[in-house]
């Protein structure tokens, strides 16, 4: 009796229990609603299916979530500029490769130059945010509000408010798939980003530093950590991730629409972090949790699409799910639940005594 109880406690006490449970719940609802959910077919040497779609479409979100996790952990604030920065990075990439033309069939500059430019601009934007947050000690949300407002404006300035098309087969590979490889390319990019970040955090002390700074920035400084530099680094890294995500977003539609690229993705990314069981107040974090959170959100979105709910109406269901999950995770709710359980238990013993 007691051993089974402790096992349950162990399972439910596991940090990733809630995020994983949510993901499974979403998947189970899917299987009930659409029995073909897990079916995978091969067309033209590429895997197709709902589940592949979730993994594929979720790639950008995963990359955003990785950057966001670190930012949240180190500074206890969120970077709301990631969507705008990714649009800017995409615009820069297209601008460099198209040589300023609106529609082109060939590269005007080497492909690698476009990629480097995009990632670099992402990192620069991140560094600007980092400078404001770490050095000038501005609240993260306000600091990133600047680029949130300006990012798309600058991108439109660059593209002259038009869409830039890059009709080059090679350019589409990053967002679609490389011939001969059965899985879409974004999946690999996401996996690489997650694994590299994971090892960077675990094999060096960086992960520990970030948690320390996030728990107590002042104390971290007193024990000799450079809090400013670490916060700055996380924001720069987040910008770097946005740059990569921007490349994928652009490549998917082989064009850049500065107004809509990566729209509202910052919100999804923050949700992914929260769903992953990370406190938005900073401190301890779980990269894996955020990744699971990102896929949960993507699975939810795909589910709703599969249930033929229009894109405009999806937010309602997302909101309800988010409120339920976040309420379940809140410490106040746990307190209420334990208080209620204690009340019931005491009532029982009182009855037995009587």
């Amino acid at each position: 009796m007691s051993s089974s109880k402790s096992l349950i406690k162990k399972v439910t006490g596991f940090r990733l229990f809630l995020p994983l449970a949510c993901l499974f719940l979403v998947l189970i609802i899917n299987v009930i609603k659409t029995p073909t959910f897990f079916n995978i077919t091969i067309q033209n040497g590429v895997l197709y299916g709902y589940i592949i779609d979730v993994i594929n479409r979720g790639s950008e979100l995963v990359i955003f979530a990785v950057g966001m996790t670190l930012v949240v952990a180190a500074s206890g604030g969120t970077d709301i500029s990631v969507g705008a920065v990714s649009a800017l990075a995409g615009a820069v990439c297209c601008f460099v490769l198209s040589g300023g033309e609106q529609s082109t069939d060939f590269y005007h500059a080497p492909y690698i130059l476009g990629v480097v430019a995009a990632i670099l601009i992402g990192a620069i934007c991140g560094a600007w945010n980092g400078f404001l947050v770490a050095k000038l000690k501005i609240q993260p949300m306000v600091a990133t509000l600047i680029l949130f407002t300006a990012g798309r404006g600058i991108a439109q300035l660059l593209t002259d408010g038009q869409m830039i098309y890059l009709r080059v087969d090679h350019f589409k590979m990053l967002g679609a798939s490389i011939p001969g490889v059965p899985l879409p390319t974004p999946v690999f990019v996401a996996i690489i980003v997650v694994i590299l970040t994971y090892f960077l955090l675990k094999k060096t002390a960086l992960g520990l530093y970030i948690e320390t700074v996030g728990c107590n920035s002042k104390a971290a400084r007193l024990v000799g950590l450079n809090s400013t530099a670490i916060k700055f680094l996380t924001y720069t890294f987040c910008g770097f991730c946005s740059g990569i995500a921007g490349l994928i977003i652009t490549s998917r539609v082989y064009s850049i629409d500065a107004n809509n690229a990566g729209l509202n993705l910052e919100l999804d990314a923050i949700l992914a972090v929260a769903l992953g069981g990370n406190s938005l107040g900073g401190g301890k974090f779980s990269l894996l949790g955020s990744v699971i959170g990102a896929y949960t959100i993507q699975a939810l979105t795909t589910t709703l699409y599969a249930m033929s709910i229009s894109a405009d109406q999806i937010p309602v269901y997302k909101a309800i799910v988010v409120v339920i999950i976040v309420t379940l995770q809140s410490p106040e709710f746990t307190k209420m639940r334990t208080a209620l359980a204690a009340k019931i238990a005491s009532g029982k013993t009182a009855k037995e005594a009587a």
Binding site: T78, L132, L136, K137, I138, Q139, M141, V142, A143, L145, I146, L147, F148, T149, A150, R152, G153, I154, Q156, L157, G161, L267, I270, L271, A274, L280, G281, S310, D312, Q313, I314, P315, V316, Y317, K318, A319, I320, V322, V323, V326, T327, S330, P331, E332, F333
Partner: protein, 338 residues
């Protein structure tokens, strides 16, 4: 003398905002003077086109003072407009009951958000993020089409011009045209003044500042932090719906994409007006000037003619950066003094 020095930081920021607004306006008058920028009506148009935003920015300021944030307001405005349009056009409900119903919805919306923030202790950002999704999605569920309002009572409210007896000019036909405002402007300004008085002179207003300054101390002082926060969010929900109503008076239509990014404009206005996002500091009149500065930039771009709309975003962001950095410099100087 000591008191004067104490006031300096925050009052100074507010003063800069006000001065900046007037400097910008005077520059506009000099540059675009021939195009009619110096007309009184152009100045009043700033209020007319931003009446809704003034109310929203005011309520945002209150939430920011408590140290919270509400990013759902833009969506609530869209939902309000949609419900108003849908009820009046598709269901034939009268204008008065429709408006009352919308305000009630706002109250309920605020109540739910407030409960989650104050009693469940979930971060305001996440709660209102969900609220934002919910309200925007609800708008789409009600109708994905654009509905124009043709209700006569509503239109009569929207188009009732209130002329000023002075400040008119003689037009080409020789008729004196007096500057006018719509009732929505007057209502927005009344709300602003009421909120200002409430924040400054009532117990509720003072406790809002106390909670924003230091929640722990406020609690130890015996303030009911939870209930105050709940009240703030209820008030905010109500004002968001009210702002939506005023916004609707200006647009007279409801559609899904309406008022997108409104929340950020409200936050930016408050920040430009000297409100700190850490809570405890803020002034609704500052936010009013924040809104006016935003309006002035838009008017500039309209008058200039060749500049594209994205310049608004870039200029506002630049101003935001300027004020934020200024705030941080002041905060640092204060710390050093200590």
């Amino acid at each position: 003398m000591k008191k004067l020095k104490k006031m300096e930081g925050n009052q100074f920021l507010l003063a800069i905002t006000i001065i900046l607004f007037f400097v910008m306006y005077i520059i506009g008058m000099i540059v675009f003077g021939e195009k009619g920028f110096s007309k009184t009506q152009v100045f009043l148009n700033l209020f007319i086109s931003n009446a809704g935003l003034i109310v929203i920015a005011t309520s945002m300021t209150i939430v920011l003072i408590t140290g919270g944030i509400d990013i759902s307001v833009g969506s609530v405005v869209a939902m309000t407009c949609m419900i108003l349009a849908y009820m009046m056009e598709n269901k034939g409900v009268g204008a008065v009951p429709a408006v009352l119903f919308v305000l009630f919805i706002g109250l309920v919306f605020g109540l739910v958000q407030g409960f989650l923030v104050a009693y469940m202790k979930i971060q305001p950002f996440i709660v209102t993020l969900a609220g934002m999704f919910f309200a925007r999605g609800m708008t789409a569920i009600i109708s994905t089409d654009m509905i124009s309002i043709k209700n006569e009572t509503f239109l009569s409210w929207a188009q009732a011009k209130m002329y000023f007896p002075i400040g008119g000019y003689v037009n080409k036909k020789g008729i004196i045209v007096n500057p006018y405002i719509y009732p929505s402007v007057l209502i927005a300004l009344i709300v602003l003044v009421i909120i200002f008085i409430m924040l400054k002179y009532t117990k509720f207003g003072r406790s809002i500042y106390a909670i924003g300054g230091n929640e722990q101390s406020a609690l130890l002082m015996g303030l009911n932090v939870r209930r105050t926060k709940l009240k703030v969010y209820i008030l905010n929900g109500f004002l968001a719906a009210f702002g939506g109503f005023l916004f609707c008076l200006n647009t007279c239509s409801g559609f899904v994409e309406q008022a997108k990014g409104f929340e950020m404009e409200a936050i930016a206005s408050a920040v430009i007006g000297g409100t700190l996002l850490t809570g405890g500091v803020g002034n609704v009149f500052g936010s009013l000037f924040g809104v006016l500065i935003k309006g002035t930039i838009e008017t500039f771009i309209n008058f200039q003619g060749t500049l594209s709309s994205w310049w608004t975003k870039i200029t506002i962001a630049a101003l935001l950066a300027f004020f934020i950095i200024l705030q941080s410099v002041f905060a640092k100087a204060k710390e050093k003094k200590k």
